[in-house]
Symmetry: C2
Subunit: 186 residues, 2 copies
DNA sequence: CACACTATTGAGCGATGCTCAATAGTGTGA
DNA sequence: TCACACTATTGAGCATCGCTCAATAGTGTG
């Protein structure tokens, strides 16, 4: 198997296992067994468990980022509202579809790994993307950053409640969109 | 040494080590060595590493909760504004004083342990406490929950910027207080 | 067919999480 | 004071873990 294919396979296994096990219980042996290869080979691709772990978390962050990106053909100025709506909708969809995965990613990946500050830096990418899509100034990115945490928390809360007790998704989305406006105005 | 004293000592060591190491790099041997006891004894108090880990994270959450509680003698109705201010101020102080510790706690403790949903349930306690202190209705607790995430993120961002570039703390606190009003009104 | 290169293996080392039977220490009642 | 019981504590030992490394299987090229 080629290097790229193997790496993709191993990352896929890691992404799948991260859902049901926190990182400290994820063993190299298990991953190797699942992939049908020897421990040695895994260490050939990722010299350290932390390296492998970082690669998995990085891939997960990129995947999330890809999944929540608004349509590319939207105009940052004219369609700012649409871009915002799309972002919130897709953020909610992302979290609702794979709640365990998202929880594990955000609260289980640790602050040290992933280069700088881990998930905090991931949120910064998200915030920057939203600010870009909406044509906001750079000094508003931190505000969007915190708003992202707000939306994330609401989405986790929403997707954690039984389907019968849930507020309408559209209502939630509308709330989050208005919330950004309100927070930027404070 | 008595059971209680020993437990307190071990939890203290865990709290200290959690600042500089993510849980997966924290070894029982290190803790035992730091405490000057044998590995066996540690397993006598905490049968599993996860048990010990959960106890440490639980103690950390309780400590945070204690540190951010507003003064007990405030009237929930008349002094709602003061209670809110105190909470935000102490939340910022807590995060700023031990940023690494808080980061490790929130983003490094994993979603599975700590009984139910880990840090999410901790945030729920925080939100409930704020709602109580301000005399808010039960159905507003989720909103406060998400607002807490917003404040936490702002505080982490704020305490992560160099002292020279920081906005005034009072300005931040005032913003967060107004933000809660704005969000509840949306 | 020989060569070089890459993917892959498996034995093995030290450290880790964990178990358990045995010990040291301390207080209590006779 | 001595024997007893109880609890804190130890240390040997096991299976597994993360990790290293020299050797091998496999594949494409001249």
């Amino acid at each position: 198997m080629s290097q790229d294919d193997r790496r993709r396979q191993l990352l896929g296994i890691g992404l799948r296992m991260l859902v049901e096990k926190p990182i400290q219980e994820l063993s190299i042996d298990d991953v190797a067994a699942e992939a049908g290869i020897s421990r040695g080979l895994l260490f050939h691709y990722y010299p350290t468990k932390t390296d492998y772990y970082d690669a998995v978390v990085g891939a997960a962050c990129r995947r999330v980022l890809r999944n929540i990106a608004p349509d590319a053909d939207l105009d940052p100025v004219a369609d700012a509202g649409t871009a915002l709506r799309q972002f919130v909708e897709r953020f909610y969809a992302q979290i609702d579809r794979r709640r365990g995965f998202y929880l594990a990613l955000v609260f289980g990946s640790g602050p040290i790994s992933l280069g700088g500050e881990g998930v905090e830096s991931h949120r910064m990418s998200v915030a920057r993307r939203v600010a870009d899509a909406m044509g906001l100034a750079d000094d508003q990115v931190p505000a969007v950053h915190a708003w992202t945490a707000y939306v994330e928390d609401r989405a986790l809360l929403w997707s954690g409640t039984p389907h019968g007790d849930r507020v309408d998704l559209e209502e939630e989305v509308a709330h989050c969109c208005r919330a950004l406006g309100a927070l930027l105005a404070v």
